[in-house]
């Protein structure tokens, strides 16, 4: 896909039976998050692309970028439900008198965490990972929404 900005992390799902499902397969095809079988999910992670992966996936039309970033993997315990998504932040500059607007930034946070019900309360713990691999941890009874620095 023509990701913009380029993806710097891809996801990989780990199943209890030892198998895995990665966002991109060996042929460069992209899998969708909804293809993950949540019922047998053991873990999930965001992984940086290698330079070889970058070259290969670019040749298949995917806008990805290899950076020396850490990986983040979550191993789920019984009762925990995976939460993973990318949160985009597009900033537009608007100016009078003619309403000139331009895109000034487009940042992405890679979010990884889990939800579980404890004592009847919906608890969520989320990691917000920026495109440089920095992470902030948030835990609350409702979904927190961080924004990139």
């Amino acid at each position: 896909m023509g990701y913009n900005p380029p993806l710097v992390y891809y996801w990989k799902a780990f199943y209890h039976d030892g198998t895995e499902l990665a966002q991109f397969d060996d042929e460069g095809n992209e899998h969708l998050f909804k293809e993950i079988d949540q019922s047998k999910l053991k873990g999930f992670g965001w992984f940086p692309f290698t330079y070889q992966q970058e070259a290969f996936l670019k040749s298949r039309g995917h806008n990805v970028r290899a950076l020396p970033l850490p990986s983040y993997v979550l191993w789920l315990k019984p009762g925990q439900r995976l939460i993973a998504f990318r949160r985009h932040f597009l900033s537009l500059s608007i100016q009078t008198p003619v309403g000139v607007s331009s895109l000034t930034s487009h940042k992405v946070l890679y979010v990884l965490g889990w939800q579980e019900t404890i004592g009847g309360r919906n608890m969520q713990t989320l990691m917000y990972i920026d495109e440089e691999g920095n992470v902030e941890l948030s835990s609350s009874h409702e979904t927190a929404k961080k924004e990139p620095v």
Partner: protein, 132 residues
């Protein structure tokens, strides 16, 4: 793609005069964004404010000539500086799984007669959305 939100700075120094402001269309419930619906405007268009160019214009909330999607609401507009990074406006809660047009943010600048004329500094607004 889902959960589209919008916000900007907590103040805008555009010297728009007494009662002047940058405002945003509001619905009394649900998403505040305006759908791409030809009930309210033509395809790929928006409901442009009417009036006399250079002199007067109708506000979004005008009962007759205001914006057709907002003018009947109890609170048709608020100052856009209401929405900041700690209080984001819900634009569109739908999930889009293929190319589509989301609901739109409808902004209007209210300029009072004692506003200070001239070009103004740029203001940054931010859209957020999630995808997986």
């Amino acid at each position: 793609m889902y959960d589209i939100k919008f916000y900007g700075p907590s103040s805008i120094d555009w010297e728009l005069g007494t009662g002047g402001e940058v405002r945003v269309g509001q619905r009394d419930s649900g998403d505040h964004g305006c759908p791409h619906d030809t009930t309210y405007h033509g395809e790929d268009q928006y409901a442009q404010a009417s009036g006399t160019e250079g002199e007067t214009g109708y506000p979004i909330e005008d009962g007759t000539n205001g914006h057709p999607y907002y003018r009947t609401q109890t609170t048709p507009v608020v100052d856009v500086t209401t929405y900041t990074s700690s209080n984001k406006m819900q634009v569109d809660s739908n999930e889009y799984t293929s190319a589509a047009k989301s609901k739109a943010v409808v902004l209007q600048v209210k300029v009072a007669s004692d506003a200070t004329p001239g070009a103004k500094s740029a203001v940054t607004f931010t859209f957020e959305y999630s995808e997986i």
